[in-house]
Amino acid sequence: MRYAMAVDTKKCVGCSDCVVACQTENKVPIGYCRDWVVEVTDGTYPQLEIEIRSERCNHCDNSPCVRCCPTGASHYAEGGIVLVTPEKCIGCGACIASCPYDARYPHPDGYVDKCTFCLENRVKKGLDPACVSVCPTKCMYFGDLDDPNSPVSIVLKKRKWKTLIPEAGTMPQLYFLI
C-alpha cells in the first residue's frame, strides 16, 4: 500500500478552503497551518499564466526528516505516510531544517507538527483527507498507488504530472497535474 495525493493545478482556484478545513479538522491552532497555497505567475501582461498549487507534506519515500530525527518521533506509518509522534518529539527542529518543502512547523505545545493525510481521524475510517473532501473544485485526488483503481492512480495515468524539487531525491508522493 502506498498513499499519495494529486492536485489538479488546472482546477485549483487557490481559495484556501483546504487550509481552513485542515485547521478545523485537525485542531491546528490559528496562526499555523499544515497545508498552504502557492500561486506562481509567469509572463507579462497580457501574455500570462498562473499555476496554483495546494501544497503540504510530500510524504516522501526517502524522507530526510525521518532520517535526521534523533528520537524516532518522525517515522513512516501505514501506506508510507510520514508522521510525528508528539510524545517522542523533543522539538529540536532538525526535521524542519531538513525538509526541502518547508512542510513542518513548531507547534506551540512543543513538538513539530505537519500534514498526516488525516490518516488516523479520516483515512482509517474510509474517508478522504479533510482537504480533499472539502475542495469545492474537486481538484484533489487521494488514494493507494498500489491500487490501480484508486482515484489517484487513475488520474496519474490519465494526466501529465510533475512533483516538486525532484532533484532533492526525496521521492515525493504529492503530485501536481499540469
Binding site: K11, G14, C15, S16, Q23, T24, G31, G43, T44, L48
Partner: protein, 766 residues
C-alpha cells in the same frame, strides 16, 4: 511554509473624543466608549426563564451533528456542525444532499466557526446616551432596549405615520424584522443586494425573457460547452455551486472565455482571455451580436419561434463591427470573431454569464440586456448547458392576519424614477431620508440588520447625511461594524450557529428546503433575530402577527404542512421534492409564452421603450482616468464576504488585509516597491483613512488598480480588522446611478498614490 503571524492588537477602551462628527447631532461612537453609568444585566427586568427555555430543547436532542445553512454569504449552503468533546464547535462540513454545496463548503463556510468564536462580537444591548455633550453607549438589558425602541417607534410614527420606518437588511434576520415592519404598517424593506449588486441583471433579463436569474443562478454550468465570463471572477467570488460546476465544466473540456481587465483566476483557467479596456464591455457585446447576426451564427428556429424584434436588432447592430469595437475595447477583431464562433459552435450549450455584482457604470441594465440578447441569439435560455428553469419548494406561511395597507409605498421615495426596478431601491430610501422642501415621503427610523451600510452603500457622506436626519437608528448585528457607531440602539444578534431561522427554500434544479438549528446556545447576552422581532412586535401590540410560541413551533407547523417535521429535518438537514412540472428545459419546438408584453423574448424591449429608455442597448463612452490617476477596480477574495468577515479569526488567518494590485510599469513610474504601504486619493480629493500594501503584478492593466472589497475597517473594537488595508467604499464618492432601476454604478472612480502619513494601519502597529 506560509508564515501566519497572529496579529495582537491592543484592546483600547477609548473615551469618546472623535473629532470628525462632533459638529453633528449624532456622534460616531467607538464601541469601547461605554458610559460610566453602564448597567449590567442584573438590573434588567427581563424574565430569563423564558429566554433560556428557548434553548433547553436543544440539549435534549443534542447529537453528534446539528444541521445548519451557512450565513457567511448569500449562497446559504447547508451543512453539519460538529462539536468536540467539550461541547465547543469544532468544524462545519457540507451536507452531501444539498444542491447548493454538494457536501463541500467553501473556505468561508468552513471558517464560519469564527463568526461564533470571535471575541470582538457584540455582547449586550446598548443605548446611546449623552453626558456633558459627549455621546456614549450604555449597556442595558433586553427589556429596556426593546421598550425604548417600541416607545420611540410609537412616538415617532404618531407624528409621521408608520411608513416612516425603513428596514435595511441582508441575510436571514430580514424575514423576522420584515414581518414586524409590515405588521407595523411599512413595506420599506430593502437590501443592498439589489441596487448595489445584482439588480441590473435581474431587470436586464426580466425585460428580455420575462424572468430573473435568481440566487443561486439558474446557469447550467455543469453541462455547458462554452462559458463566457464578463468581469465575473468565479473562483475569487466563491459562489459555491458556480465554482463546483465550473470545475466540472473544465473536466469536461468546456471552452471558457473571460473578459476582464485583470488576469483573474478564472482568466487563468480560460482558453481565451480578453484583456478589455475597463468600461468598454458594451462595445464588445454589441460587436459579438454583429458577428453572430452577420454570419448567420445564431439559432434561427429559436429566434423565429420565440423572439420579438430581430429585424430591428439586425439593423441596430450593423454598425457595431469588430473593427469598430477594436478601437474602443483594444480587443483584436479576429479574437472577437473567433470567440463569437466558439460560442455559436457550442450553442445552445453556451452561457454568457450574467454575473452578480454588476453595478458598474450606470448603464448596467442596458449592458445586461446586451448579455441577455446574446444568450437569446444563441438559443441558450431554457436549454441544457445554458439556463435552466428553476423550481422552488412550495411551503405555506404560518397563518397571520392580513398586513395593514400603508398610505404610501416605498416606491414613492423615488417617485418617477427607477421605474423598472423590481425590488426596493436601497439608495432611493437612503436619499429620501434626507429632508428636502418638496418631499412628501421621508424616513425617520431605520432598522439595519446584518448589513454595514457604511461599506455597502457608496458615497458614505450621503449615507451619513441620511443617518443624521433620522430620529431613531436601530442596528442589529453580530459584530461592531461601523454602522453600529451611528446607532441609537444596538441589538446584539447571535451568530447563525446559535439560532433557528426560516427555512431556506431557494429555487434550484430540484425543489429543496434546508433547515438551520442552533448547535449551541447564544453566547454572551446575544439573541436570535426572530426572538427580537417577536418581542418587539409584542411590545408594539402586534403580537397577532407572531402567533407562534417559538421558531420550533413555527417551523414544525410549516414542515408538517409539506409532509415533513422538525424532527425529520433535524436528522436530514436538507429535503428535496420532485418537480411539479417537467420543464427544466424547453422541449424541442415547444410553444413557450414569455412573461413580457409581447409574450416573446424581447430583443427589442417594449418596457424599456415605454419608459423612455433605449429599446436596444447602445454604446456610451464612459469617463477615463485623468493623468496620473488609475481606475479603481474592486472585487472579491475567496476567503471573505463583503466587509462582514474581515474580523473572523479563522478567515483573517488566511487573509488579514487587502493589497493594491499595481502593474509593474505603473510601479516604475511612481517608484513603488512591492510590499510598501501607500494611501490613495480619488478624483474628489478624498484620501483613504488607512494605507494599503502594494502588490506589483502583471495581472492588472496599467490604467487600473485593483483591491478586494471589505477591508479598512475604522472601528477599533474590530481588533483584527481595524486599519487593515483600505475601504474601497470610502473612495467611491462618484456614483453613476442607473436610471432604469436605480443601481449605483461604482466603477467610475479614479485614484492616485499619496505618500504622506502612509504609515497607518497594519504597518504602524509593528
Amino acid at each position: 511554509m506560509i508564515s501566519h503571524i497572529a496579529s495582537i492588537c491592543s484592546f483600547l477602551i477609548e473615551i469618546n473624543n472623535t473629532v470628525d462628527m462632533t459638529t453633528t447631532r449624532r456622534q460616531f461612537i467607538k464601541l469601547g466608549a461605554l458610559s460610566a453609568g453602564s448597567v449590567t444585566l442584573a438590573g434588567s427586568s427581563f424574565n430569563w426563564t423564558t429566554a433560556s427555555s428557548l434553548f433547553e430543547n436543544q440539549k435534549s436532542v443534542a447529537s453528534d451533528r446539528t444541521p445548519t445553512y451557512c450565513e457567511v454569504c448569500f449562497w446559504q449552503c447547508a451543512g453539519w456542525v460538529y462539536k468536540d468533546e467539550n461541547g465547543e464547535i469544532q468544524k462545519i462540513i457540507g451536507n452531501d444532499d444539498d444542491p447548493h454545496c454538494n457536501g463541500r463548503f467553501c473556505p468561508r463556510g468552513t471558517g464560519g466557526v469564527g463568526q461564533y468564536s470571535d471575541t470582538d462580537r457584540l455582547k449586550t444591548p446598548m443605548i446611546r446616551t449623552r453626558t456633558d455633550g459627549v455621546d456614549s453607549f450604555r449597556e442595558v438589558g433586553w427589556d429596556e432596549a426593546l421598550d425604548y425602541i417600541a416607545d420611540r417607534m410609537k412616538e415617532i410614527s404618531s407624528k409621521y405615520g408608520p411608513e416612516c420606518v425603513a428596514l435595511f437588511t441582508h441575510g436571514s434576520g430580514g424575514s423576522h424584522f420584515g414581518q414586524m415592519l409590515k405588521a407595523f404598517g411599512s413595506q420599506s424593506v430593502t437590501a443592498p443586494s439589489f441596487a448595489q449588486c445584482r439588480g441590473p441583471r435581474e431587470v436586464g433579463f426580466l425585460t428580455t425573457f420575462g424572468d430573473i436569474i435568481y440566487s443561486p443562478e439558474r446557469t447550467d454550468i455543469r453541462d455547458t460547452r462554452c462559458l463566457v465570463l464578463i468581469g465575473s471572477h468565479i473562483g475569487e467570488n466563491m459562489h459555491n455551486g458556480q465554482i463546483q460546476e465550473m470545475s466540472d465544466a473544465i473536466d469536461k473540456g468546456a471552452t471558457i472565455i473571460t473578459v476582464d481587465p485583470r488576469f483573474s483566476t478564472a482568466a487563468s483557467k480560460s482558453k481565451y482571455w480578453l484583456p478589455i479596456k475597463p468600461s468598454t464591455d458594451m462595445a464588445l457585446l454589441l460587436s459579438w451580436m454583429n458577428v453572430l447576426i452577420e454570419n448567420g451564427w445564431y439559432d434561427k428556429d429559436y429566434i423565429a419561434r420565440y423572439a420579438h424584434g430581430f429585424e430591428e436588432l439586425k439593423e441596430h447592430v450593423k454598425k457595431y463591427t469588430p473593427e469598430w469595437a477594436y478601437g474602443i475595447t483594444t480587443i483584436d477583431p479576429n479574437i472577437i470573431r473567433r470567440t463569437a464562433k466558439e460560442m455559436f459552435d457550442a450553442s445552445p450549450a453556451v452561457i454568457i454569464h450574467p454575473g452578480r455584482h454588476v453595478t458598474w457604470y450606470g448603464d448596467d441594465t442596458q449592458r445586461l440586456r446586451a448579455v441577455a440578447i446574446l444568450n437569446a441569439l444563441l438559443g441558450s435560455w431554457g436549454r441544457r448547458g445554458g439556463f435552466y428553469n428553476p423550481e422552488k419548494a412550495k411551503v405555506p406561511e404560518f397563518p397571520v392576519p392580513a398586513f395593514p395597507i400603508p398610505k404610501h409605498l416605498p416606491t414613492e421615495a423615488y417617485k418617477g424614477k427607477y421605474k423598472l426596478a423590481n425590488e426596493v431601491v436601497s439608495n432611493g430610501i437612503c436619499d429620501a431620508t434626507i429632508p428636502t422642501p418638496d418631499k412628501n415621503c421621508s424616513y425617520k427610523i431605520w432598522i439595519v440588520n446584518g448589513t454595514n451600510l457604511l461599506a455597502a452603500l457608496p458615497d458614505q457622506e450621503q449615507t451619513k447625511r441620511a443617518i443624521e436626519a433620522l430620529e431613531l437608528l436601530v442596528v442589529v448585528d453580530t459584530m461592531p461594524a461601523e454602522i453600529t457607531g451611528f446607532a441609537d440602539v444596538i441589538l446584539p444578534e447571535c451568530s447563525y450557529l446559535e439560532r433557528y431561522d426560516m427555512l431556506r427554500k431557494s429555487p434550484h434544479r430540484e425543489p429543496n428546503i434546508a433547515i438551520r438549528v442552533p448547535a449551541v446556545s447564544p453566547k454572551y447576552n446575544s439573541m436570535p433575530a426572530d426572538w427580537m422581532a417577536k418581542k418587539l412586535a409584542e411590545k408594539l401590540g402586534l403580537g397577532a402577527w407572531f402567533p407562534w410560541k417559538d421558531m420550533e413551533e413555527h417551523l414544525d407547523w410549516q414542515l408538517k404542512e409539506i409532509g415533513s417535521s422538525l424532527e425529520e429535518m433535524k436528522r436530514i438537514g436538507v429535503k428535496k421534492f420532485p418537480r411539479m412540472h417537467d420543464n427544466l428545459y424547453f422541449a424541442p419546438g415547444e410553444d413557450v409564452t414569455f412573461n413580457t408584453n409581447t409574450g416573446k423574448i424581447e430583443l427589442y424591449s417594449t418596457d424599456m421603450e415605454a419608459e423612455g429608455f433605449d429599446p436596444m442597448p447602445v454604446y456610451t463612452a464612459h469617463e477615463e482616468p485623468p493623468e496620473g490617476f488609475y481606475r479603481l477596480i474592486y472585487g472579491r477574495a475567496p476567503m471573505h464576504t463583503f466587509s462582514r468577515t474581515a474580523n473572523n479569526p479563522n478567515l483573517t488567518d488566511l487573509m488579514d488585509e487587502n493589497t493594491l494590485w499595481v502593474n509593474p510599469k505603473v510601479a516604475k513610474i511612481w517608484g513603488l516597491k512591492a510590499g510598501q504601504y501607500v494611501k490613495l486619493k480619488n478624483q474628489d480629493e478624498k484620501t483613504s483613512s488607512f494605507s494599503i500594501k502594494v502588490r506589483i503584478t502583471e495581472r492588472i492593466r496599467w490604467d487600473s488598480v485593483y483591491m478586494v472589497h471589505g477591508f479598512g475597517h475604522n472601528n477599533k473594537k474590530l481588533s483584527r480588522a481595524y486599519g487593515r488595508g483600505i475601504n474601497d467604499t470610502e473612495l467611491i464618492t462618484r456614483v453613476k446611478v442607473d436610471p432604469v432601476m436605480g443601481g449605483t454604478g461604482m466603477r467610475g472612480n479614479f485614484v492616485t498614490f499619496v505618500f504622506e502619513n502612509e504609515k497607518a494601519g497594519k504597518e504602524a502597529e509593528s
